[in-house]
Symmetry: C2
Subunit: 414 residues, 2 copies
């Protein structure tokens, strides 16, 4: 893509009301624009990042055997009355009236809807287990939405729900999803730790959070480096001191950003909503359920929080809006014509290239390149052309390297 | 995909409150499930169709040089006050209160949001023209939502907005989008006619609708077969009789389903919201705008309305959930093992195959295959295996053909 045609040019100062680091950098770089507190538009560059994250999520969820569906945002009160959650949700769920005085809520989570869907189409143990997920815009009437993409009133979520005939079948899948989550976060450039957290009031089991340690995180985690055990401070026994309950080793506290969480739901929803299957003996039993959430938009914000320097963002390879940022320096016909040729060559080779073909100063172009954070920068200038070369620099590294134009493609592929 | 693992098995009778043909067939086939009036979940098969339509839309919009963005669903009243549309939208827009007594509306259209976005990032004629689109869940407080996917309270829309410095530049792009729309509908298997319609109260120009002629359509169109001219009856002069205003030929009336519409917006929004650019002479002028809508979910419903028979849906190739439906008939080990092999072979060749590996009767399997409407059916049974063959039948055709297993792959590719 030619940068001269790209909508969303960079701006020098982030909007004044943006206080979080992720929102400031993403706003300056032309990735997002705030419409109201906790509500963002994604400009072309930002949407590319978000879509890449969603696709990684999709691939990893499909690999567990899950199937993608898409449920509605509008939800009728009647369904939530079956589990008795309508009243309790008033604080976080946008609720309003539709025509005919019907009560409607905006989807903040979908246990009721998925359980309704499954009870309509699944009847026998032969059809289980099944795991269904969606990647969807979610809504929460959030009181403190000041953390950019980390805490939105409108945000993207992948929510998955699994249905099983036995506890052990559920546990097997739950563990599989744990590994799949770690793999997924790794592909997004995030080192996420599995953290024990409360399972809620309806189970004695723990749930599990996936936390990225980061100073700007809202959660506090007890973490033992020796055995990698971690607990959300919310569930730590009082006076636990600084000893790890697993290995007795020293425990540190860290701030963390929660990028995902998974819950055993047991039969809480299937029981209340009569989502049953017939077992081998013809007996009807409620399905055993699990739920598995994560936020693609929050992941995007978290990546920026942990992967940046004072010049801008440093996108990990798999989620970067483009793989290569080709920058033509010096507003010179010879430079532009060489860069044009190289651009065509790279695109033909199947690479995702943002090509800065604008007539701007070297200072502006290099500054923008650092701000945008594309993993590899290739500069073409009169100086590099004198040596029939281009300069390659990785965003995350200090050193640049001159490479002959003939050898550029193979060097990049390495 | 193995059908035994597919969530959303077919059902004999559509839900009782489904009266439209598209919803009845889509519900029976396991493509969609209604949650409330005008609000649907997409099951795996339905989501595949919807995603294919969205991708065709994306490709065709990108080909016009437009860029994809994603705007929020939640919109603040303040923005709509700038154009004075908040009050007038009360009937169709879901409006409610958020925290701090703020007024929020659910996105039914995005002229205000996109104009706000563009005025924040574009300042000079050098940065124009620009065309931006999104593919997004939209909401309307619809009084009569009884037509399945044709008229939803929650539905998918592609809305695109273009910004220009001159009227002639706008017109050039508007005509380009017209052609792009025709191409797009053709790829979806729809023969859409361009129909003149009212431009609304703020312009003397016409807008243009894209109508698929169909008995179940809600609109009435005057259409002249001789010169292909068409007008929505809403704007026909009184006493126009049955003569075409263009060629004097005979005019027929047809019912139509509107699958898209495009509007010249002139400076209605840019003027009200001060979305201006500086021209070559340093003068500030409001941008000239156009908007271009279409509904991927409505397209899905329309395809079913016009492409079906009494056995089920007949999906056009490019939007079909799978290209091939492989059906193993006769619950016989030899049949399943041959079908398994063929399935692996087709998938390895890059084909999208739904494989009916269920232990069900031939009647149920063939009935389901017709209902699902996948373009090509390949049957493996003891009868076909006796001749070392499989039977190929196109869903839209009557005749089946026996093809030797060795030659199957090349035959399919033809």
């Amino acid at each position: 893509m030619r940068q001269s045609k790209l909508f969303g040019k960079t701006i020098k100062e982030a909007a004044k009301d943006e206080i979080s680091l992720n929102a400031r950098l993403l706003n300056r770089g032309g990735f997002v624009e705030k419409l109201m507190s906790g509500v963002y538009s994604y400009l072309p560059l930002g949407l590319r990042v978000l879509d890449k994250i969603k696709n990684i999520v999709r691939e990893e969820m499909n690999a567990t055997g899950a199937m993608e569906v898409l449920m509605p945002t509008l939800q009728p009160k009647e369904l939530w009355d079956e589990t008795g959650r309508w009243e309790g949700m008033k604080d976080v769920m946008f609720q309003f009236k539709g025509r005919g005085d019907s009560d409607i809520g905006l989807g903040c989570t979908h246990e009721e809807v998925i359980t309704d869907l499954v009870r309509k189409r699944i009847f026998s143990y032969k059809e289980l287990p099944v795991s269904l997920y969606q990647i969807q815009d979610k809504f929460r009437n959030e009181p403190r939405a000041k953390s950019g993409l980390l805490r939105g009133r409108e945000f993207w979520m992948k929510d998955m729900y699994s249905f099983h005939t036995t506890e052990s079948d559920f546990e097997k899948y739950y563990d599989e999803v744990k590994l799949s989550y770690l793999q997924l976060f790794k592909r997004c450039g995030l080192d996420a730790k599995i953290v024990e957290a409360s399972g809620g009031i309806f189970t004695e089991k723990f749930s599990h959070e996936f936390q990225v340690f980061c100073e700007t995180g809202e959660d506090t985690i007890h973490y033992c480096r020796e055995c990698d055990f971690a607990q959300n401070i919310e569930i730590c026994e009082e006076n636990v001191g600084d000893k790890c309950p697993k290995c007795g080793g020293e425990v540190f506290e860290s701030k963390g950003i929660e990028v995902g969480n998974i819950f055993p739901l047991e039969t809480k929803y299937s029981g209340a909503m009569n989502a049953c299957f017939t077992d081998k003996n013809g007996e009807r039993k409620p399905m055993i359920m699990g739920c598995y959430g994560l936020g693609p938009s929050r992941i995007m914000g978290t990546i920026v929080e942990v992967s940046h320097d004072d010049k801008g963002i440093i996108w990990p390879k798999e989620v970067a809006p483009f793989a290569v940022h080709l920058v033509a320096l010096g507003n010179d016909e010879k430079v532009f014509s060489s860069a044009d040729q190289l651009y065509d060559k790279l695109v033909s080779a199947g690479m995702e290239v943002l090509y800065d073909d604008r007539e701007e100063s070297a200072g502006i172009k290099l500054g923008d390149s650092d701000l945008l954070g594309i993993p590899m920068r290739i500069v073409i200038s009169n100086r590099t052309l004198e040596k029939n070369s281009a300069e390659i620099k990785m965003r995350a590294e200090e050193n640049a390297e001159l490479v002959e134009l003939d050898k550029l493609l193979e060097t990049i592929k390495e």
